[in-house]
């Protein structure tokens, strides 16, 4: 079953022709943006010289830092009045990375998500409960519009409030949930704690995304909930969810090549690797009006699966994401860089320079624990002052990274000093 038969089963040759046409159009659009105008000039790039898909190698990469530097709208390729929405992710230095969408971008994105959902066997008879956060984060709204386009009834329950989520599943006979894997495991325990057998519920499928997890976790979720679980991949820079999705064969995620040109590179050298080799995923969005992004370094490690899929879709698949090439942490589905935490800590003169970030999983939920030291020179002997600093610090971190961390305030000298390569992050989660 396909959402768009012609495109999903297009021959590789026709797909490549389509990609080249769209790439040329995208380059034209990008060339008017302040950011790419500068990039093209500085690198002596003549976009007319890009005559084959291989020529994409001649373009420089775009990085997250480029997005930050062009904040807020240095990469926008359309007049402001055409923009209908923005999404943003939190930034490491206080500045977010912002993505803009035209009405066509939103509708194309929804179309892509509908395509993903149909690939998992979803139909308009399904009731879709979207447990990803709504708001600036793309996880919630991204799937929302696609599910509506497909004709599902959408329950925009957003994340959290587990008991209400269970109530909604029961009352509205939810068949598909969109959820982070860790929260799914937490929820199934809550379902059992309520005396409900998960197998008695109407649930059929779960779309798992926003954080890395293992095949073993997928199996566990499927067995405990009595459902099929599908891997979902996306990033706001490339729209959000819907970039790649598993079909019913659950053996790698189809990456929609009529929207994205996919490359795998050696993260150290930037060299483009052969299909099948593992490296960093680099994506060029060739189907976006408001904000074309060329050769974007996702920092996600994976490989292309070039072999044809039994489902008949000709678009390549990518393997489960193996990890990151940078130090980004994904905590409860939220992207966090240690440098963001460090920036907050350094704003508190009463706190020393050494810190540790410890991640654990308790009852299937991520817990962040930050160890800091009191700076002895600003110690005034007042316990209320210290309690106040601690709660201010907690609030500041919560505001920036949306995670409520546990804070341990330690005596000066308790943590290893900052010189050299002190290990700051301890990720004890078993994914």
């Amino acid at each position: 079953m396909y959402w768009n038969n012609n495109i999903e089963t297009i021959s590789r040759k026709d797909l490549e022709t389509l990609q080249l046409t769209k790439l040329k159009k995208t380059l034209q659009a990008a060339s008017v943006t302040p950011f790419y105008k500068k990039v093209f000039t500085e690198n002596n790039i003549n976009i007319e010289a890009i005559k084959t898909l291989e020529h994409i190698k001649d373009l420089p990469f775009t990085t997250k830092n480029d997005l930050r530097l062009s904040y807020p709208d240095g990469m926008v390729a359309v007049p402001k009045k055409m923009v209908v929405r923005m999404h943003a992710s939190s930034g490491t230095t206080g500045k977010s990375t912002v993505i803009f969408y035209t009405a066509k971008d939103i509708s194309d994105w929804a179309d892509l998500v509908a395509r993903c959902m149909v690939a998992t066997g979803a139909t308009q008879d399904d009731v879709f409960q979207n447990m990803m956060g709504y708001g600036l984060f793309t996880g919630g709204l991204g799937l929302h519009y696609g599910a509506e386009m497909l004709g599902c009834m959408v329950i925009p329950s957003s994340s959290g409030n587990t008991l209400r989520q269970i109530q909604l599943i029961q009352d509205f006979e939810t068949t598909i949930i969109h959820i982070t894997p860790s929260y799914c495991l937490h929820m199934v325990e809550a379902i059992r704690a309520e005396g409900i057998d998960p197998y008695e519920l109407t649930l059929k499928k779960a779309y798992l995304g926003a954080e890395p997890y293992s095949e073993a976790t997928r199996k566990k979720i499927e067995e405990q909930c009595g459902i099929d679980a599908y891997n979902s991949y996306g990033l706001s820079e490339m729209n959000g969810p819907g970039v790649a999705f598993e079909c019913t064969y659950k053996n790698g995620m189809h990456i929609w090549e009529d929207y994205y040109i996919v490359e795998i590179i050696n993260p150290e050298t930037g060299e483009v690797l052969q299909p099948g080799e593992e490296g960093e995923l680099v994506l060029t969005h060739i189907n976006r009006e408001a904000m074309p992004i060329l050769r974007y370094r996702t920092r996600d490690l994976t490989r292309i699966i070039p072999e044809p899929c039994q489902c008949g879709r000709t678009h390549y698949r990518i393997d489960r994401i193996k990890g990151r090439t940078d130090d980004m942490l994904i905590v409860s589905g939220v992207n966090v860089f240690p440098s963001q935490i460090e920036t907050v800590l350094m704003k508190f003169p009463e706190i020393g320079n050494n810190y540790q970030i410890i991640l654990d999983r308790e009852n299937n939920l991520d817990r962040m624990h930050i160890k800091v030291e009191l700076y002895s020179k600003l110690f005034h002997g007042d316990i209320k002052e210290i309690d106040h600093i601690k709660s201010k610090l907690k609030e500041a971190l919560k505001a920036l990274i949306t995670i409520n961390p546990r804070i341990d305030l330690l005596e000066p000298g308790s943590l290893p000093p900052s010189e050299g390569k002190a290990k700051r992050v301890f990720d004890n989660r078993m994914l």
């Binding site: 002895s376 110690f379 002997g381 316990i383 210290i386 305030l409 330690l410 005596e411 000066p412 308790s414």
Partner: protein, 142 residues
């Protein structure tokens, strides 16, 4: 004027020992000790015969220590004497943040030690009512 040494400490085994070790090696006497606990950490308050030396020695060891002005008043070691001081503080609307006490001579003399926002004002009230205040010197000589 009297000072206590306030020390930030985690709520873990061995934390008092680390402090007493430093003070013992400097031959400093501890007149009183109390702990202000706030869960994972707390403040250990020490009344020392040589508060400045003690504080410096602790800081030299990398310990977060500071000198804090307190009021130490000599009272009789018999029923009702703390009540008299408390009544006097109440009369002058003086709020006590934290307090402790110790005996100087059993059944004769005790010391009541407390923290207030304005120690000088509190000392004046006590002095005006005939109380003897213990400054560092007196604490040293006790």
């Amino acid at each position: 004027m009297a000072y206590q040494v306030s020390v930030f400490a985690e709520n873990k085994p061995g934390k008092i020992e680390r402090i007493t070790n430093v003070l013992a090696s400097q031959n400093i006497n501890i007149r009183a000790i109390t702990i202000n606990d706030s869960g994972d950490y707390g403040i250990i308050k020490l009344l020392l015969d040589r508060p400045e030396d003690g504080c410096t020695a602790l800081k030299d060891e990398g310990i977060a220590a500071t000198l804090k002005e307190i009021v130490a008043v000599k009272i009789q070691d018999k029923p009702g004497s703390l009540h008299k001081v408390a009544a006097l503080l109440k009369e002058h609307s003086i709020n006590v943040d934290d307090a402790y006490g110790f005996t100087i001579k059993p059944h004769e003399e005790s010391a009541f030690v407390f923290q207030v926002d304005n120690p000088k004002a509190a000392e004046k009230v006590l002095r005006d009512s005939g109380y003897q205040l213990l400054a560092d010197k007196e604490l040293y000589l006790l």
